[in-house]
Symmetry: C2
Subunit: 459 residues, 2 copies
């Protein structure tokens, strides 16, 4: 359904509510999917949210709940009874329940844990202990496990019996008596096999799996490499403890990309989307880098003040400082962005630093050469002839163009090396992006500029 | 399998090849999955690639082929007979075949089309006509379609019969006599239903679908909103023409993110990963923005030269130009990055421009205030007292700090407004990122600086 239809439907639903046509209202909801119901609920005024939520058919209330934002979940939890809460927690997929608990304030977590069945509680506790962003923290325990000596018929019976509550039934996991992972078998394999065949004979023993402590970024790489729908998660003893499904991986991919965008713009990443984050939170995520980069610009001030006399003698030099710093910064961030993105897609490895440097060097020479030629022509034709600035002599144009050559080449080499080095020593390469590179290239370009100027102009 | 195991296995396979133990070699390959075999093949020297490819068991050669890069695919096509080629094209999923043809040179496309069966050829031609990056261009025609009046048992029989070659069997699509899309039904629904039930009674009629011309970015948004495994693609008459599966969406998400990263760093996006792109290609993708931004820096030169006298009178002012421009640029790109990413995730809509501006204004005031205070203290304590620069007087520190306040606020407002305006008039907001914003804020910060300086210092 597109957004426009949804809006019209939402208005109709509101009207039904206002005129207390509750029966018709519930019938309408039954035809909608959980995501759209959640969208509708989150647009309601606060005091109506819990009321509408309680009107939902029992069969879908947990699914709708899982689709709401944590603020609304929190609000609903505070408005419903312990018993209703307990039922929702049992119905939620374990990974959704764990996500929820990680966001709620401690007092609410306590109440939620209290209402959960003891078995669920134990599982949740176990999950909460996995490190943030690990496979363990995003996995779910709701999978179909099969035994080696089952027939396809028995497997289907098991799927029919326990499949209802599982996050996926299409990939089933074959375990031995001590719960070690032995293989995977898909419903497709089973449908295309004879009903009497044994699972051990049709399963795939070359299983792609991940371990509980593996980073979610590595998990998502496996999904995109091998086109998986679900991947099994094993512990250190190779026992199957959970699965990660492809819908969670889509969220992981978007989260990780957003984190990289933030870091590359000098923003400390937060889990909250922009519209939900408060002004103070946004300020807190942005001010550290701004502050750090502002203070580190002390170096550029020092360089300029050191060459004060040169600037006083040939005043026109100052006019090209912004262009040189800007072009240096842009050249450097092009290289750093390309390298950072390739690293995160697994396209290049940190050990290929020499190959990358060689490639960047050649690109840099091409860029530097073409920029210098165009700049010389531009300074001569536009600045000198068209705008009539007689201070822009051919020799000044030469100084600026030569500086450009060295700056662009150095900026591209620094921009491509820093992220690779960062990855090698275990720092997130995304931190080595535009803002940091620009600050570095600012200082570099000034030093080069004044060195070239003093050498050529003898000042 | 992790990379280390793969390397060891690769060496072993090479040894088998070199010692001509072909039988053992083929047995080894049968145990590996297509992706790993493709990785192995792409590391081989050119002249061995086609030879090894021909050793593959027929059953997996098309799958391995689909996992290779286009360069290697091209090479293999040139080494095999028309008949072998025809077999591979028939075996490929249609979307993979179309992807391949879009990358190959025209002469090779001709040969491939010639070897394909006429039915396949017609389908491929139809697909090649959909606009780039549309749902039509990434969809596949290999889906399971069911009829309204089938029983669950009949449906399973159909899946068993035609399922082998389908990209997914888990979501089946129910069509009427004239191929209009009527509903979807999952294998899970069918497994959990009675075998005698009719498809029309268990199918979901509230279908999430896309149209052939819809942008792939919108398609991927639907996947992440509704947690889908496959989405049906319909034409203008609501006839079912194909499906898009979740594994393709993962590629789309990564492609789109990479494109945004590129654009935001002033790189013209290309489809080629960094390691595969040649030096000239990289140069071509980077030089246009560098050139444009370099030339547009003529304005900053003009501003500085216009205020030449002010700079000559109070020489210390020049020292803080890089800091002011840098901080303005960083403040602006933080805002533009946040807004661009939120737009692409669907977190904010272009019409919320006023709400975003109000939020950014408050964040900007907080950032500007804290930066100004710290800058004043830094100039006084570090520049004046610690470094002993007597030119940095309290009044100069005031000029710089005031400029900082106006610059940061203006930069954040421009940085957040431009992407929203771009989206509104149909330009990709990612273009309004760091490089462009920095060039704008460079000019702005200089104008503010000299205005404040002349007003306060009376120069």
């Amino acid at each position: 359904m597109d957004n426009k239809d949804l809006e019209t439907l939402g208005e109709y639903l509101l009207e039904l509510l206002d005129t207390r046509q509750i029966k018709l209202f519930r019938e309408q909801l039954e035809d909608m999917n959980e995501h759209d119901i959640a969208s509708f609920i989150s647009q309601l005024p606060r005091k109506k949210i819990a009321m509408v939520f309680r009107l939902l058919p029992k069969s879908i209330s947990a699914d709708v709940f899982a689709n709401l934002d944590v603020d609304e979940q929190h609000h609903i939890i505070e408005c419903i009874t312990d018993r209703e809460l307990g039922e929702i927690i049992e119905e939620l997929f374990l990974d959704d329940a764990v996500d929820l608990l990680e966001e709620l304030p401690a007092s609410v977590v306590k109440r939620v844990m209290h209402t959960a069945a003891s078995e669920t509680r134990a599982l949740i506790n176990q999950y909460l202990e996995y490190p943030d962003n690990s496979a363990g923290s995003i996995m779910t325990a709701e999978f179909v496990d099969l035994k080696l000596d089952m027939s396809v018929r028995e497997a289907f019976t098991r799927i029919r019996r326990i499949g209802e509550d599982k996050e996926t039934i299409y990939t089933c996991f074959v375990v031995s008596g001590d719960r070690k992972l032995e293989g995977v078998v898909t419903v497709k394999d089973m449908l295309l096999s004879d009903e009497d065949e044994q699972i051990r004979d049709i399963m795939d023993t070359q299983v792609i799996y991940v371990t509980t402590t593996e980073d979610q970024e590595d998990v998502s790489e496996k999904f995109s490499e091998y086109d998986l729908l679900a991947v099994p998660v094993v512990d250190k003893e190779h026992r199957l403890v959970g699965i990660v499904t492809v819908d969670d991986i889509i969220d992981v991919l978007q989260e990780e990309a957003t984190e990289d965008f933030d870091k590359m713009a000098g923003i400390t990443p937060t889990d909250k989307p922009y519209t939900r984050a408060g002004v103070m939170e946004i300020w807190k995520s942005r001010i550290p880098w701004l502050m750090l980069l502002m203070i580190s610009a002390t170096f550029t001030s020092l360089i300029i003040l050191h060459f004060e006399n040169a600037l006083a003698t040939v005043a026109v030099l100052a006019g090209f400082i912004p262009m040189l710093m800007g072009t240096g910064g842009n050249s450097g961030s092009q290289s750093s962005t390309a390298v950072i993105r390739s690293l995160s897609l697994g396209d290049i490895a940190p050990r290929s630093v020499l190959r990358v440097l060689w490639k960047e060097l050649r690109v840099a020479v091409l860029c530097a050469g073409s920029l210098a030629v165009v700049n010389y022509a531009k300074m001569f034709l536009i600045d000198r002839l068209l705008l009539g600035n007689s201070q822009v002599t051919p020799i000044i144009a030469l100084v600026v163009s030569l500086t450009l050559v060295f700056t662009v080449i150095l900026a591209k080499l620094v921009g491509s090396t820093l992220p690779l080095l960062a990855e090698k020593v275990g720092i997130d390469p995304a931190v080595m992006a535009s803002p940091l590179i620009s600050t570095l290239t600012d200082a570099m370009s000034l030093l080069i500029y004044f060195t070239v100027a003093t050498a050529i102009l003898h000042i």
